[in-house]
Symmetry: C2
Subunit: 551 residues, 2 copies
């Protein structure tokens, strides 16, 4: 999509836009089909058009647009992640905050170590050309992240709110973690590596995460580093962009609201948060995600009725188009003949590499989900909160399975790592890229398609349509480790009156999360909202029934 005259021409853009339209129409027609969703439809259409182009150009090329890492990270990913933050159910998300951090940071690290060491050991037996230690670590980073874009497509926030918030929240956190790990690997000198240096490296990369975000924070263990990174990212964006946009719109536009300017300012400010995070080497994905949350909590309430409807749907639409774009792109690029030429000489090796990678992804995720769930279960205060082994196992299997998908972030990182030295002409590089594509296609199509039926099978049907129900699955991790709705959302009634005032220190110690929530609400109501606006702090326009229009 780069405006290089060789690559992009009017006809390729026209064809691509026409394919996007057909994806939407066909995706809609297949909506009732339980096996299909928009992402697999787009992948299938991408593959089909790749085959057609391959046949019409007599095997010369399969894609009309070459997968471009910059296009992906600068233009396509931000709207998706921002929209996820903008539309996320804040209560549910912050309730499972600790679980998300644990899975996202520690879980990714476990997967990373397992995949790295596993490939190092297993690839020796296969003849796949030269790969150095940096390549193996990069493979670990590439395959340790659950894809948040796929998760959005497969899981439904209203049907399985808890599973969605854990797996998607984890996806956002570990997308960020794996990108940071990946960048750390590329900068690190890996020519003479031993196990000691490897352990040092993991420490360094986590410390660099920490240092990038809060310079004068004391060094501590990995988990707290990740939490600190998370919190500091949160504050970066809150002060830089999220709240500034809320403040500007509140100060400037009160009483006389031109919708176009408000919407334009919100879009540009959200994008600015992403680009500024990129510029200052913060985690741009985390930043834009929290920018979405802050904007929906403050800014969104300061704009006119029509701006609210417009932003709600315009952000969703931009995200929707970007998602389909990515899947179509990956599907079309998968058949690129260049890459497969080298591989076709040794199909067995390539299949072996793909199988090993898929196996390691399965094992890596199992090794992170099951022990972490077990540990978090130990932390429960009362016996009544604990579940039977069978109940636990079912839930862990669901979380394990729903996080197996690898997507376009993996493809983008693989291109970055394996096309630097001599493109795909090198045997090892060629095999790694085709294997990545195979793993992504297989995990998205097979694991993705089986997720919905699996959830229906494992979980009682009442939980699938109950929304924010308090059923066993929903209440399970909500009581698991924390109960902390840092930012209460308007969807559920978390009124200040419902929360008992902590009257003694003993009560505060007994119910820490409630106390944190209580003081946050108090701070929000007395300082934040009067300054930045928000629900109930802007004059309500009478006679405009917003709610029925917003689903």
């Amino acid at each position: 999509m780069a405006l290089d005259p060789d690559q992009t021409s009017v006809d390729s853009i026209t064809l691509f836009v026409a394919l996007l339209c057909s994806c939407i129409v066909i995706g809609h027609l297949l909506e009732k089909n339980r096996w299909f969703n928009e992402s697999t439809t787009a992948l299938a259409i991408g593959l089909c058009s790749g085959i057609i182009i391959l046949l019409t150009t007599e095997g010369k090329r399969s894609h009309i647009l070459v997968f471009n890492e910059e296009l992906f990270f600068i233009y396509l990913l931000p709207p998706i992640i921002f929209n996820a933050g903008f539309q996320v159910k804040k209560k549910q998300f912050f309730r499972n905050f600790a679980m998300i951090i644990l899975f996202g940071a520690v879980g990714t690290l476990i997967s990373f170590v397992i995949v790295s060491i596993g490939t190092m050991q297993l690839f020796k037996k296969l003849d796949i050309g030269f790969l150095d230690i940096g390549d193996y670590l990069a493979i670990g980073a590439i395959f340790s992240a659950t894809d948040s874009v796929c998760t959005l497509q497969v899981l439904n926030q209203d049907e399985t709110p808890l599973l969605y918030s854990i797996v998607f929240g984890e996806g956002v956190v570990n997308d960020a973690t794996s990108i940071v790990l990946f960048n750390a690997i590329q900068k690190f000198d890996l020519s003479h590596i031993t196990l000691r240096i490897f352990i040092e490296f993991i420490g360094t990369s986590y410390t660099s995460l920490l240092q990038a975000h809060c310079l004068d924070f004391p060094m501590c263990i990995c988990i707290s580093c990740m939490v600190a990174k998370f919190v500091s990212s949160l504050f970066d964006l809150i002060f830089f962009v999220g709240l500034i946009s809320a403040y500007i719109i509140k100060k400037l536009y009160i009483g006389r609201h031109p919708t176009d300017r408000e919407v334009a300012l919100m879009i540009l400010m959200a994008y600015l948060s992403y680009m500024m995070a990129e510029l200052f080497n913060l985690s741009s994905i985390l930043t834009v995600f929290f920018c979405g949350i802050v904007m929906s909590h403050y800014t969104w309430h300061n704009v006119t009725e029509s701006s609210r409807i417009t932003t709600k749907h315009a952000f969703a639409t931009l995200s929707f188009i970007s998602e389909i774009f990515i899947f179509l792109y990956v599907g079309m690029d998968a058949l690129d003949i260049e890459k497969w030429k080298v591989v076709s000489k040794s199909p067995g090796t390539s299949a072996g590499v793909s199988s090993i990678l898929l196996g390691l992804v399965l094992v890596g995720r199992a090794a992170s989900v099951f022990p972490l769930s077990f540990i978090s279960n130990l932390f429960k205060r009362s016996e009544s909160d604990k579940f039977t082994l069978k109940q636990q196992f079912v839930k862990q299997v669901t979380i394990w399975w729903a996080g197996l998908m690898r997507g376009s972030v993996s493809v983008a990182l693989a291109y970055n790592q394996f096309t630097r030295s001599g493109h795909t002409q090198l045997r090892g590089n060629s095999i790694m890229i085709t294997s990545t594509i195979t793993v992504v296609l297989f995990s998205t199509v097979v694991f993705g398609l089986m997720t919905k039926p699996l959830i229906r099978l494992l979980l009682p049907s009442k939980h699938l349509c109950g929304g924010v129900s308090s059923g066993s699955f929903d209440s399970f991790p909500s009581k698991l480790m924390t109960d902390l709705p840092l930012i209460a959302n308007g969807d559920a009634e978390v009124g200040g009156n419902n929360i008992p005032r902590p009257t003694s220190l003993r009560m505060l110690l007994a119910t820490p999360t409630r106390t944190v929530h209580y003081y946050w609400r108090k701070f929000d109501d007395s300082v934040m909202r009067p300054m930045f606006g928000g629900r109930g702090f802007m004059p309500h326009v009478p006679g405009s029934p917003t709610e029925p229009l917003l689903h």
Copy 2:
């Protein structure tokens, strides 16, 4: 903005987005100022940041993004023109249809001939390096078109509906005309040109317009060619995209409307119409403009309430961002040091070229507006419709003045013509590019800023706030040549009952436009709307007050 790693980096995009945000905020703060509008604010901010970059890089470069023709024509122009079509007052537009065509096609041709011949004669006396006949003709095409983007910024559809519809409609038509002329010049062999060949050339280019659009249409005079081009463009898009989108959305989504898909489909279909027109060498600007009209007449009525609000504002927002982007871009690019190095050696010549061009623009537009207005006045049927000479003169001056602005289309075409052979190193090319920028900045800033005060001065104040009033200025060209609301819009009451049924052939001959309108309405009600949906042909969702939300 090309994803060339040399040109675009994270920091330049971040800076550019931050500047866009500041343009919106400062533009809003200066809203009450009668001299400023968003475009001049963006130009000023672009120039200021250009100076700052020039100082910080010690004179090495002034821009953060190089003006890129493809970015302009493929990504920035379509949303602006589409939105103009989507939001245009259809009744007013079609009432002045003949006038718009006359000014847009014949007027542009007159300007083109005057500017081309004028520069050929006058530039000989200046020492500006080698320019061939093709360059002179290109200059004619570059400077013969009123800029529709500037017009949108300066004129207000609600304050001066007639002036807006004529000057903007003309801008759309003659942007298209000048781009087609320009392309014809670049393809034509101009090495051995005489006056006879020149006249032949004009005939050929108009014929090629005709042939591109309706192959089996008989050859006729230029005006009818232009009308035919106009009509055929209209039909191209109606059958290709506008109506297809209406049909798809009506068939697929009735009863179960997912807003995001509807909005995504509308955006992609609109863009597809532009790209398809580019692909088939039709006039993409005209096509996307009419696609906007068709979508607002049919498609828009088939979607849900929230989709209507979203599309209305999302299109306006995209257009708004693109407009500011363009002006910021032009302002920042204007100071590019490379171009001015050659010119600075002979400031007198450069000033001379700019003055000659500005003079020719003024004369060229006068030579097209005044005679054409006079001719159209002759066609009036009754004596009572005619105006006094003074009234006429005032109106002609207003139309003449409001169409003097030259904008980013001129800059884009100038870059195309004068950077092909040896970039701006050649003296003549360098002078022409800097002169184009001078003319664009001068006409946008000086003419643009003076337009609002001039309108206030020349036209009685009641017409400025009357909306679709029937005052003298508004009624002037509406009765001028035609009275043909081809597609009636819902804003005004043009109900079928108000139009008397033509009972005899004599009446049909006496009131042809009313008859055309009557049959169009009948056809629209009986065939088009039941098939493609539209106002009153979709089930109304009760209890959703849309109108107060849409201004």
